[in-house]
């Protein structure tokens, strides 16, 4: 290293530091995994908020009743076994006897009861919906939990991960105000890693839980969640090996290819099977001309989904057929036998449909004008807006683009409903009941409820099918209900579903067994180890 040039060029202050470089540069990481989390989580209260970055950290600290394998099948966790009574109205969990919280107190049936009835059902954003049919929880002995339901809720079995429904210690969270609890940012759970410290603006430190009930696990000594706001710096930190893991949008799509060529790094798209985001163009069906189904169909025909996936999302994605992700194909809930808008002569059909609808081209070449609100998240959404402008321009729809910040956008779309079209995406999550219904069910049309039915469209038959699918335990029958609902949705196209999003996950090759769960970054990392 050429320190001589340094000495001559810089001031004495830098000279001093220059001499010390060799010390810091020799640092080896040992058993520490540094993961990039973006943005910094506001709190660690995963029982209060499902905001992306919160779960990525909290899921390492809190256990759930169950875990899930990559085929989305439930696996035992702190519940060593479970039985569902015929009819589906009674679910019994047997809790392991060797599980202890980080403060040394044992985890019992009372903690599970508290975490579902007093926490998930009350304070969790999705919990009241997920557990709405749970009326009572019995704890006949200290390690048996019986959920009593008034209606069958087969989808509920997918919501027992430590990310979705964390099990909290009642002796800590049972006291005081759960919404402003002193332990919100100092979580105490029973998971593989213990919370140590949070340096706001830089990092969260989690250390190995030596008394974890899975003997010998976790393998890592420490996990550090680091926050670097700038995307290019995050890429640099991964390249340099200062950070070892990044997922869920913390790596820009345009850098993913470059990182994939780095021999020290692996880029994968696995680990989103229980999240399944589907990208969309939301149309405000309350307003003319978007209240006309022919106009909406024309707009859908004009969008080339392959172009969007390949050029805006750098190939990370798969053309979508509707609100449901094809990740539900193995369970039989998904169907692609619906109206297909991805056809070679889409522009032609679109022009014909618009003529039929009575929107003829005027002298200036345009039929009408819409305002598109670009989703104010990452760069891709701006590009998406620009693409939509071009694509609809081809069929004579003039598009203006507006860009606001996130709170303004949320208010405009979901409270004021003062928009024409906007880009966005919804997570399908663990089950369509949780992630899909909210997009087009009439019950989800509510002012102020964000990420719900923003288009304002609904259909009684869709509602009916959704209601039936909610309580139907038989997967085949559920699939039939969804087939009807999905084909109605595609026919009426209140939302143009463009593609199933795949996020690149970057892993340093020093580590293995990082993505072993459909929850990916939201899993507990108890199997991650150094190679």
């Amino acid at each position: 290293m050429n320190f001589n040039i340094f000495r001559k060029t810089f001031f004495t202050l830098i000279l001093l530091i220059g001499g010390m470089i060799s010390i810091a540069a020799s640092a080896k990481s040992g058993g520490t995994l540094v993961m990039l989390v973006q943005p910094e989580p506001p709190t660690l209260a995963s029982y209060l908020s499902t905001s992306g970055p919160i779960g990525t950290v909290a899921a390492k600290v809190y256990d759930g009743l169950l875990e899930y394998d990559l085929d989305l099948q439930p696996q035992p966790s702190i519940a060593e076994s479970w039985t569902i009574a015929p009819g589906g109205l009674k679910i019994t969990f047997k809790i392991r006897k060797d599980v202890k919280f980080h403060d040394g107190k044992p985890l019992t049936a009372k903690d599970v009861q508290f975490s579902i009835m007093n926490v998930a059902k009350v304070t969790h954003p999705r919990g009241p919906n997920t557990f709405r049919s749970v009326t009572r929880i019995d704890t006949p002995d200290s390690h048996t939990v019986i959920l009593n339901l008034d209606k069958p809720a087969p989808y509920m079995m997918m919501a027992f991960s430590g990310y979705e429904t964390p099990i909290l210690p009642k002796h800590i969270f049972g006291k005081g105000d759960l919404r402003a609890h002193p332990n919100a940012n100092k979580p105490i759970g029973s998971g593989p890693y213990k919370f140590i410290q949070w340096k706001k603006g830089s990092l969260i430190q989690l250390d190995k839980n030596k008394n974890y009930w899975k003997k010998g696990q976790p393998y890592l000594d420490r996990i550090i969640a680091r926050f670097i706001p700038d995307a290019s710096t995050r890429t640099a930190a991964l390249e340099k090996g200062e950070a070892h893991f990044a997922a869920l949008g913390s790596v820009p799509f345009n850098d993913a290819k470059k990182l994939a060529n780095n021999p020290n790094l692996t880029v994968t798209t696995k680990g989103h099977e229980m999240i399944s985001p589907v990208a969309e163009i939301l149309l405000n069906t309350r307003k003319a001309p978007l209240n006309d189904v022919k106009v909406r169909q024309a707009m859908a025909y004009a969008i080339d989904r392959n172009f969007v996936v390949n050029n805006i999302w750098f190939g990370y994605g798969k053309v979508a057929t509707g609100p449901m992700s094809s990740n539900f194909a193995p369970s039989g809930l998904y169907t692609d036998k619906v109206k297909n808008y991805q056809v070679p002569n889409g522009v032609e059909i679109a022009n014909k449909l618009l003529d039929e609808a009575g929107y003829k081209k005027k002298a200036n070449g345009y039929r009408f004008e819409v305002m598109h609100d670009s989703l104010p998240y990452s760069e891709e959404w701006k590009r998406f807006g620009e693409y939509i402008q071009q694509a609809w321009g081809k069929i004579g729809i003039k598009v203006k683009i507006r860009l606001e910040d996130v709170p303004s956008w949320l208010k405009r779309i979901y409270t004021a409903n003062d928009f024409d079209t906007t880009g966005g995406y919804l997570y399908n999550l663990s089950d369509p009941v949780v992630g899909v219904h909210r997009a087009i069910s009439s019950r989800a049309i509510k002012k102020g409820r964000v990420f719900s039915n923003g288009s304002g469209w609904s259909h009684p038959k869709v509602d009916e099918m959704f209601d039936k699918a909610t309580v139907e335990p038989n997967l085949k029958k559920r699939g039939e209900y969804y087939a009807i609902a999905l084909s109605l949705a595609a026919e009426n196209i209140p939302i143009i579903w463009t593609h199933e999003m795949n996020f690149p996950t970057v892993i340093n090759n020093k580590f293995k067994d990082v993505i072993v769960s459909p929850l990916g970054i939201y899993s507990n990392f108890d199997r991650v180890k150094l190679k």
Binding site: M1, F11, L16, I17, G18, M20, I21, I23, A24, A25, A27, K28, S29, V34, E40, P42, T43, T50, S51, G52, P125, R126, P128, N129, A180, A184, K199, K200, G201, S202, L203, Q205, I224, R226, I228, P229, D230, S232, T233, A236, A237, K240, E242, E404, D405, V406, P407, S408, W409, L410, K411, R412, Y414, T415, K446, G448, R449, V450, F451, S452
Partner: protein, 326 residues
């Protein structure tokens, strides 16, 4: 005897600062009301969807259901008691959050002020001494380039060059998060992490002060007192360093004081690029999450910092130029 009027002066200035700071906070409070959306929608939005009762419960809890004048009155009353409130988003008291982030900010700013004033004064001085030689041109052109280059780009280029290619400095952060050094090793580690962000943030100001210093040096050189000094038979270096330099440095100090506020703003970019855990980044996040308690707390703290720095600048004047009285 001399110290007494200074103390009195400081006290008077601090008292004068109170209405200024309160005015700033009140103005900021009212301006923030103009932004659409509130904390409740953002929190609910981040949750990826929430029930209506959850959102209205959030509003009541944060006092967002009250009329604006009630919210303002409550806030001003609290701030008079130095109670900056609670950040619901961070689930922490605002004061605690600010104090945690204050020292990285002060560290970065201190280093930047030192580098930029030092570097600017020196290079401006030499440019003036070497007037119209190739060295002067080199300094001036470099200064203009540095002045015109966007901060984030400089930051990224420094990372690519000194961190990725040459492997001399870490890409980002304030500490080595794998080692967690303690004692002196920690001081060295932090200094090591400070180098690139401080240089990035300084470059713009070095350029500015270089131009300013060069211009005032040239201006002062033609004044009568310089002729007098020369006539006394002083050497050229005595004239330059004892007479011209001291007078020429005054405008630089003035501008540095005024620009301290802008330095807070510029640090948002640098903090973001280098993942430096300072106040700028916190303010940026607070704005986009409509965390008004926190944002107002930051405005309050920034207003205090600017007032204090300007006071210090005024006191420095007295030492630089004894003709200035307070």
């Amino acid at each position: 005897m001399l110290h007494f009027p200074i103390l009195k002066y400081i006290l008077r200035r601090l008292l004068q600062a109170i209405p200024v700071i309160l005015g700033v906070v009140m103005l900021c409070f009212l301006m923030l009301q103009l932004a659409p959306g509130d904390l409740a929608t953002v929190l609910a939005g981040e949750s990826g969807g929430a029930t209506d009762s959850y959102i209205s419960e959030l509003r009541i809890r944060y006092g967002l259901d009250q009329p604006v004048y009630v919210q303002l009155w409550v806030y001003m009353k609290n701030i008079a008691l130095l109670d900056l409130g609670f950040s619901y988003r961070h689930n922490m008291s605002v004061m605690q959050l600010l104090l945690e982030r204050l020292w990285p900010t002060l560290l970065l700013m201190g280093a930047t002020l030192f580098l930029s004033i030092g570097g600017g004064v020196l290079s401006g001085l030499f440019a003036a001494l070497w007037l119209n030689t190739w060295k002067d041109h080199l300094i001036s052109i470099t200064a203009i380039i540095a002045y015109a280059t966007p901060l984030f780009w400089v930051g990224l280029m420094l990372i690519l060059t000194f961190s990725l290619a040459l492997d001399l400095f870490p890409t980002s952060g304030m500490e080595d998060v794998v080692m967690f050094y303690e004692g002196w090793a920690q001081v060295v580690d932090i200094a090591h992490h400070l180098v690139l962000p401080a240089i990035t943030l300084s470059l713009f100001y070095i350029a500015l002060y270089t131009r300013l210093m060069r211009a005032t040096m040239l201006e002062q050189r033609g004044l009568d007192y310089v002729v007098t000094a020369r006539a006394k038979g002083l050497t050229e270096s005595q004239v330059t360093f004892r007479h011209i330099l001291r007078n020429a440095i005054l405008p630089v100090v003035t501008v540095a004081g005024v620009q301290f506020g802008a330095l807070l703003g510029g640090s948002v970019v640098v903090e973001s690029v280098f993942g430096w855990p300072g106040l700028g980044q916190l303010a940026f996040d607070a704005l986009f999450s409509r965390d008004y308690n926190l944002l107002l707390g930051i405005f309050f703290l920034s207003a205090c910092l600017v007032v204090i720095v300007n006071l210090i600048v005024d006191i420095i004047y007295v030492f630089l130029d004894p003709r200035i009285r307070i």
